[in-house]
């Protein structure tokens, strides 16, 4: 049995690598072949977009065919797979069309009109998706206000999925005929929380507005704007993990510490192990490995990985340092800016981790009752806030044209945000205030030289 499983794992891995390599080689081949032929943008869009969407539809369909393979009733299984594939195709078409029109037509708009257009486009198309999906599922499952709940009977697996639309929310829950009540409750409450708070809709909105703004400003002459892509990707990842942890905390609040047992049953049915910290990487990527803390204690802060907020902060700082300037698209500028980007991202990631280690005794001192994981995560989050705040100096400089005022404003904003986050974790204003004041003073004392360096980087970059 274990040999079989290992074989199938290796097979999956090689299949994945093969697809990536083939797509890469195909792109290389096509770019070389097509570079001699000048096709009008509309024609290349009409050829490229359907091919890409078809490929993504095949991948999504294949992935969910495996996920729902243990559902007993064949017609229901196909229906659910088709709904998810349909939504993936709709979203892919809408995103690709938005990128195409931003690239070719909308870049002439002023920023205000552009953002207004994108927001209206997003709302109208989400309404359209809602109507199409609703027509497909209206005869299916139970109804509770906006919520459409489809329950599937599987052979042995517990699982749940949520699709948020502008008005309706679709929850697909599956569990075996002989089910464990607690595990079913865990799936229901977790997915219900996702549905009620429109989590996937929020992620879609950030993706649509973020990507289209990147295309808009990229077309208007910001050659280092690609530096926003790692930041956007990390932001979406951290937000997804946050949503998962909040949904887990909602389960803890409803069911208490016994929710962990129900969750272990779900996990065992899916991956054959009941420890979330040893779940496969494809699960731990979007669902933090330490989520047992959220189920057991309702502790969200402690369940994050210590690296994720420093990574977000360093990508943000790299983007703000190099990406927001309309430098001329000359090779020497691009090379210099790329070097500065790489240096800032790596350097500030290390600096944030070190700053987190410096903050840890203070958080431990004032954060009475916090666990080890919460202490280190809260330190890292506070350190990330200060690093992001100091990067914002660059943005403020474009308003004030004075480094002093920019740095003062950055410190003030970092102080307020760190106070807010620490208060959220401690729920005690006096302790949060003491923590925020202490770490702000330490940051000023320790990074005074860093603040001296910020104008110098700016001078180096522009002269």
């Amino acid at each position: 049995m274990s040999t079989l499983r290992l074989k199938s794992k290796i097979y999956n891995l090689f299949l994945g690598i093969l697809i990536v390599v083939l797509v890469f080689l195909g792109e290389l081949y096509l770019s070389k072949t097509i570079s001699g032929i000048k096709l009008p943008p509309l024609v290349s869009f009409a050829i490229g977009a359907p091919l890409g969407i078809l490929l993504s539809a095949i991948i999504v369909h294949e992935a969910y065919r495996r996920v729902f393979s243990s559902v007993k009733v064949m017609s229901l299984r196909h229906m659910v797979i088709n709904i998810i594939t349909l939504l993936a195709i709709l979203l892919a078409i809408e995103l690709v069309v938005l990128i195409f029109i931003s690239l070719n037509y909308l870049f002439k708009f002023s920023p205000g009109y552009f953002v207004g257009f994108v927001v209206i486009y997003f709302v109208l198309l989400m309404l359209l998706n809602d109507a199409l999906i609703y027509m497909y599922v209206r005869g299916l499952g139970g109804r509770d206000g906006r919520l459409i709940l489809v329950r599937l009977v599987s052979n042995d697996k517990y699982n749940g999925f949520t699709i948020n639309m502008l008005y309706h929310d679709l929850v697909i829950a599956m569990y075996p005929e002989e089910f464990d009540k607690c595990a079913v409750d865990v799936v229901d409450v977790h997915e219900g929380y996702h549905a009620r708070h429109k989590h996937t809709l929020i992620l879609n909105a950030i993706l649509f507005i973020g990507l289209s703004m990147l295309v808009y400003y990229g077309r208007r002459g910001y050659p280092m704007l690609w530096t926003a892509l790692p930041f956007l990707a990390t932001l979406l990842l951290v937000l997804t993990r946050t949503f998962e942890l909040l949904a887990d905390r909602a389960v803890h609040r409803r069911l208490g510490p016994k929710s962990l047992e129900g969750f272990r049953t779900v996990l065992k049915s899916l991956f054959g192990i009941d420890d979330p910290r040893r779940a496969p990487i494809r699960s731990r990527f979007t669902h933090p490995g330490k989520r047992d803390l959220a189920f057991l204690y309702g502790d969200v802060v402690g369940a994050y990985a210590p690296w994720e907020f420093p990574l977000l902060a360093s990508f943000f700082a790299g983007f703000v340092t190099t990406g927001i300037y309309p430098v001329p698209p000359v090779d020497v500028y691009i090379k210099l800016a790329s070097l500065i980007y790489i240096g800032v991202v790596i350097g500030l990631f290390l600096l944030t981790m070190l700053l987190g280690i410096v903050y840890r005794p203070i958080i431990r001192w004032f954060g009475e009752g916090l666990g080890d994981d919460s202490v280190i995560d809260l330190s890292m989050i506070d350190a990330s806030i200060f690093i992001m705040g100091s990067a914002m100096s660059f943005v403020f400089y474009s308003i004030y044209h004075s480094w002093l005022y920019s740095n003062i404003t950055a410190i003030a904003i970092s102080f307020i945000f760190s106070l807010l986050v620490t208060w959220f974790a401690l729920r005690n204003l006096r302790r949060a205030l003491l923590t925020a004041v202490s770490i702000t003073l330490i940051f000023i004392a320790l990074d005074y030289l860093y603040y001296v360096m910020v104008p110098l980087i700016h001078v180096l970059y522009f002269r």
Partner: protein, 98 residues
């Protein structure tokens, strides 16, 4: 859930981190000086900028202070106007509108 690690160890790690941060920060301008991308004058200029305490006080006491004072005046006058409307003023405004 309570802490198991000794706070002395964390304090020692924090001090070590401070040492690393400071050496990094001093290394950056040192390397820039050695390579020649900047001179002593740049360091002095930047340090002077960042240390301009008087300008900071002027900023918060002047521009920001004025903004806060304007908000305060708007609030107090608005409150007075809403709570003590003069009948003559009301009459005049109504007549004007009519």
């Amino acid at each position: 859930m309570r802490s198991r690690r000794s706070s002395e160890k964390e304090l020692a790690e924090a001090l070590a981190a401070i040492a690393v941060i400071l050496s990094f920060e001093f290394a950056a301008p040192a390397i820039a000086l050695a390579v020649g991308t900047m001179g002593i004058g740049d360091i002095i200029a930047a340090a002077t900028f960042a240390a301009g305490f008087g300008a900071g006080v002027a900023f918060w006491g002047g521009w920001v202070g004025n903004c806060l004072y304007t908000g305060y005046l708007a609030f107090t006058h608005g409150w007075a106007a809403l709570n003590n409307p003069s009948p003559w003023l009301c009459g005049a405004v109504t007549a004007g509108v009519l």
